[in-house]
Symmetry: C2
Subunit: 345 residues, 2 copies
C-alpha cells in the first residue's frame, strides 16, 4: 500500500493504535505533542541516535525488521551503559516514496519486538517524508538511582578494565554481508549461505543490549567506576574513557575476547584479528572499570573479561602484544576512509 | 576546515566544549552515553523531531543558523503545547561531506542561541556521516506539573477555540523564498529584496515557540482544556483535536487572525487567503480550547484570538464563511502533492 493512501496521521495511527504502555513511569505515551513521564525521586536518562540508510544499514541485505530491532537495542545500550534501565522509546522517521506501508510495518515489527523484550514503552512516533532513503531518529528515556549512575569520566588509576561478550564479531558479520552483496551484484533476489557463520551475521544484524550484564553486576553488588558501550570499537571507547577520566591504560592482546567464528573469518579475509577486535565497532558490549580489589569476583563472573588496567595519565594508552611489545593504542576514527567503522555511534 | 580533520569526537568536542548547563534538573549534560535529568515529583515531557534537508529546509536560501534555531524552537513548541517548560535539548546530526566545520558551527550558533533564549540546556550532541545532505534529529525534555499538563484529547462541547498570533504568514514567507529561488536559478550568490515583507520571511526562517502565551495563560490563571501547536496548519491540527477528543467544531472565517503582509502577498500570488490561513503550516502558534465561561477573560488577552467553539461530535467540523455558508473543514494532508505543507510536523 502506498503511504500516501493513509496520510501522515493515518500512517501513525496504523503503526501505533495497538500499542500499550506498561511502565509506571509512562504517564502518557503516544498521541500528543510530547510523551509524559514521571520518575519520583529517580533520575531520568536521555539518549538519542540517528540511523541513516546507506550509512548505518544497507537494505540490499538487511531486512527492515532487523533495522528496527537494532535501532531500538543500540539506543537501549546507551542507557545500560549508564547503569540505568530504558523505559520509553520515541521514534521519528524520514521515509522516501520508495517505501510502502508494509515495509514500514516490518520496521515497526522490529522496534516493537525490541521494546517488548526489554520492557520499554513506545511513547512517540513521528513520520516525515524524505527525499532520499530512510532516516530513523530514536530517543530513549531511562531511569536510574542518581547515586548508582556510572559515568565515563570516573575511571581511577589501578582500576581493572573489563569488557562483556566478545569483540569484532559484528564487524566480521558486516564483512561477510558486504562480500555476499558484491558477489551477487545485479541479482535482485539472492539467498546467501551463511551456514556456520550465523553468529557473526546475528551480531551484525540483530545486536542485543547488555541488560543481562547490568543485572549481573547488580546481583554481585559490583558498581563499576566507569562504563560505556562499545559502538565505535574498543580502542576508540577506551581512549574516550581515558581522556575523560584523565588516566592511561594498558590492555593485553591475549586477553581480548574473540569468538571462534570471528577468528576463522578474519583468517579467511586475511585480516589482522587484533585490529578487528580493537576497531571493529558495532559490538554493543559494555566496557567498564572496577576497583582492583574486585579481581577475584570479576574473574568468577561468566561473560565478563578482564583485559587490562588503568594507569597514570603520563603512561598513556597501550596494548601489550602477545610477544610482549608495547604498542600505543590508536582509535581508527572518522578520519579513516572506512565508511563502516567511522560512522557508527 | 574539513570535518575529517577533527574526527567525530573532535567535532563534538569542538561544538560543545564551551557549553554549560543552568537548569537544576540537568544533573549531567554532554559527554556520556546519555544525559542525566532529575525532576523530583514533576513530570518529564519528551518530544523528538527530525529535520531533513530538501524537505524541511532548503540551503539555497536558508542560512544554517536559521535551520539550527528553527530545529530547536519548533521542538520547544511541542513542550509548550503541553503547558510545560522545555529544559534540555539533545541533537543528532547526519552530515554529508559537503559540509565544513564552519557550516556546522553556524548551525550550532542557531541551536545555542535558541537554547539561551528559552533557558534550555544542550545536553547531548551526536554526529554521524550522511550520504546525502544534512539530517537533524532533535529531542527535547521538559517539565510540568502533572495536574496542569494539557493534552489534545480533552476538548469539551461548548469550549471556545483560541489561537495565538496569526496564521499563514510562515507559509507566505516560504512562497516568497521559493519565488526568489526560482527567479535567481543558476546564480550562486544573490541578495533578494524582501523590503516590506520582513515579517513573512522571519516567520518562515526563524519561528518562535510561544513561551509567552503559556506564561500569559498562567498569569491569568487560565488552564486550557486542550492544546497543541500549529505546525501542519490550523485545519489539520483542529481536526486532530476534534478526533482525539471526540467532538466537532465550528470556526469562523472572519475571525481567523491574518497579518496584513500575509493578506498582501496572498493577493499578489493570487492565492485564497483563507486556504493559506487554514492550511499554511509552520505557524508554531498555539491552538487551544478553554471553557465557555472564560469568554470575556480571553477577549481581554492581547495576542489570543477566539476563532470558534467546540460542538457535539455529530455536527462534525465546519468553517462558517464570511457570507454565512457552512463549509466542511478539511485538512490538506500528506496525500496532497504539496511538498511543503505535507511534510512538516
Amino acid at each position: 500500500m502506498d503511504i500516501s493512501e493513509l496520510g501522515k496521521f493515518g500512517l501513525i495511527s496504523h503503526l501505533t493504535d495497538h500499542i500499550q504502555t506498561s511502565n509506571p513511569s509512562t504517564i502518557k505515551g503516544l498521541g500528543d505533542d510530547a510523551a509524559v513521564l514521571e520518575y519520583k525521586g529517580k533520575a531520568v536518562l536521555l539518549a538519542n541516535n540517528l540511523l541513516l540508510e546507506g550509512i548505518h544499514f544497507d537494505l540490499t541485505y538487511v531486512a527492515l525488521k532487523f533495522v528496527g530491532y537494532k535501532a531500538a537495542t543500540t539506543c537501549f545500550s546507551d542507557i545500560y551503559a549508564m547503569n540505568g534501565q530504558p523505559r520509553q522509546l520515541s521514534v521519528s522517521m524520514g521515509i522516501s516514496k520508495r517505501f510502502s506501508v508494509e515495509t514500514i510495518d516490518e520496521l515497526f515489527m522490529g522496534i516493537e519486538y525490541a521494546c517488548e523484550r526489554y520492557g520499554v514503552d513506545l511513547v512517540g512516533v513521528n513520520t516525515y517524508s524524505s527525499l532520499t532513503g530512510l532516516c530513523i531518529g530514536v530517543t530513549v528515556a531511562g531511569e536510574a538511582d542518581r547515586d548508582t549512575i556510572v559515568y565515563r569520566n570516573t575511571a581511577k588509576n589501578t582500576d581493572l578494565i573489563c569488557v562483556s561478550g566478545d569483540l569484532g564479531s559484528a564487524y566480521m558479520g558486516l564483512q561477510l554481508l558486504e562480500r555476499e552483496k558484491a558477489v551477487h551484484t545485479g541479482e535482485t533476489d539472492f539467498t546467501p549461505d551463511f551456514a556456520g557463520k550465523e553468529y557473526l551475521i546475528e551480531r551484525q544484524l540483530r545486536p542485543e543490549a547488555r541488560k543481562d550484564i547490568v543485572e549481573l553486576l547488580a546481583q554481585n553488588r559490583i558498581m563499576p567506576t566507569s562504563m560505556m558501550d562499545v559502538s565505535d570499537g574498543l580502542a576508540s571507547e577506551l581512549l574516550h574513557i581515558c581522556k575523560q577520566s584523565n588516566v592511561g591504560c594498558v590492555i593485553y592482546e591475549e586477553r581480548l575476547p574473540i569468538d571462534f567464528q570471528t577468528a576463522m573469518m578474519a583468517e579467511q579475509f586475511n585480516m589482522n584479528l587484533t585490529t578487528v577486535a580493537l576497531n571493529g565497532g558495532d559490538d554493543y558490549e559494555l566496557l567498564f572499570t572496577v576497583p582492583l580489589h574486585l579481581h577475584k569476583e570479576m574473574q568468577a563472573i561468566d561473560g565478563i573479561h578482564l583485559i587490562g588496567h588503568i594507569v597514570e595519565p603520563e603512561e598513556n594508552a597501550h596494548l601489550i602484544a602477545r610477544d610482549g611489545t608495547k604498542i600505543p593504542l590508536v582509535a581508527q576514527g572518522w578520519t579513516k576512509q572506512n565508511k563502516y567503522k567511522t560512522e557508527n555511534e
